[in-house]
């Protein structure tokens, strides 16, 4: 499963000067499509919080963070701040997924589809793995059922490889399960 958004840990600080020999080191976890963008985002956020820019700062480390248990399902809560056409808003969204990167990708695509917010207008404030009891959204809570059972109502008839795809078929497909 390849994800578009990767999670990076970026560590940086302002350059040491005569007045400040050991400036404070700051670390951020953020999502970007690649390392270059991650570093750029880091400076963007740091500029807003501290009086430091990329020109008078240095990057100390950038590492990609991978999912520890990609084979277990978790409920992710994502707090985000986004820019709509009329102003900035905060939002809390929940997603069920196996990896945090998957949940974040779901978030970006859902924000784009439901609110027409492009990914550069979204800032992820916080993410957390939520235990099932504390989930707030009905759409995630409905899957918290150890005896979950539902039929697949509509069977999409698909050739097993794209090579066998044809425009015309001899007979109408049977869509019942």
């Amino acid at each position: 499963m390849s994800y578009k958004f990767h999670q990076f840990q970026v560590v940086g600080r302002g350059l040491p000067t005569e007045t400040d020999e050991h400036p404070k080191i700051y670390r951020m976890k953020l999502w970007a499509t690649n390392e270059v963008r991650a570093k750029s985002k880091f400076w963007y956020f740091l500029r807003k919080l501290k009086k430091v820019k990329k020109s008078n700062g240095q990057m100390l480390a950038i590492n990609e963070i991978f999912e520890k248990n990609p084979t277990t399902i978790k409920n992710y809560g994502i707090w985000l701040r986004y820019q709509s056409r009329t102003g900035y808003h905060n939002m809390y969204k929940e997603y069920r997924d196996t990896t945090l990167n998957g949940g974040i990708e779901q978030m970006y695509t859902e924000m784009a589809s439901r609110h027409r917010v492009r990914h550069h207008c979204i800032q992820v404030i916080k993410t957390a793995t939520i235990p099932a009891k504390l989930c707030k959204r009905e759409s995630t809570k409905q899957f918290h059922n150890s005896k979950i059972k539902f039929p697949l109502v509509f069977k999409k008839v698909r050739p097993p490889t794209r090579k066998l795809k044809t425009t015309y078929k001899a007979s109408r497909p049977n869509l019942f399960v």
Binding site: P70, T71, T72, I73, D97, T98, K156, R158, P160, T161
Partner: protein, 134 residues
């Protein structure tokens, strides 16, 4: 017409698209409306879209997300492999696979066998025809 095959924990499904095409997998948990956590003895547990799965009639008795050993033991206990291979769907797939892997000599042998079978059928038909006209 009510539904007979449900997505539930322990349902055996056949993968009908993608890298694991043709494999029998167990639905081990449901992620959300479109995806299931799926496991098989010879693959790492992973997620799969329901669009890639065709549900079968076979269901095994497991708890939510069992570990690999428990899963393999449950599969053995329910005798999934034999149930599948003796079901008409499973047998059809085996025959398809065999036909696809024939070499020229096998196809020649099949041709002879078909001719022989057709000859026997035609003899019987001729006998029956004679009896009805006589």
């Amino acid at each position: 017409m009510p539904f007979k095959r449900y997505v539930e924990i322990g349902r055996i499904a056949l993968v009908n698209y993608g890298k694991d095409y043709g494999k029998l997998v167990v639905i081990v948990d449901v992620i959300d409306q479109n995806r299931a956590l799926v496991d098989a003895p010879d693959m790492v547990r992973g997620q799969m879209n329901f669009k890639r799965l065709t549900l079968t009639d076979i269901k095994i008795d497991i708890k939510r997300v069992p570990n690999k050993k428990t899963l393999i033991a449950a599969l053995e206990a329910a005798d999934v492999k034999n149930k599948w291979e003796s079901s008409s769907w499973g047998r059809k797939l085996i025959v398809q696979k065999k036909r696809a892997s024939l070499n020229d000599f096998d196809r020649f042998k099949i041709m002879l066998a078909k001719i022989k079978k057709a000859g026997v059928v035609r003899q019987e038909l001729a006998k029956l025809k004679k009896e009805t006209t006589a």
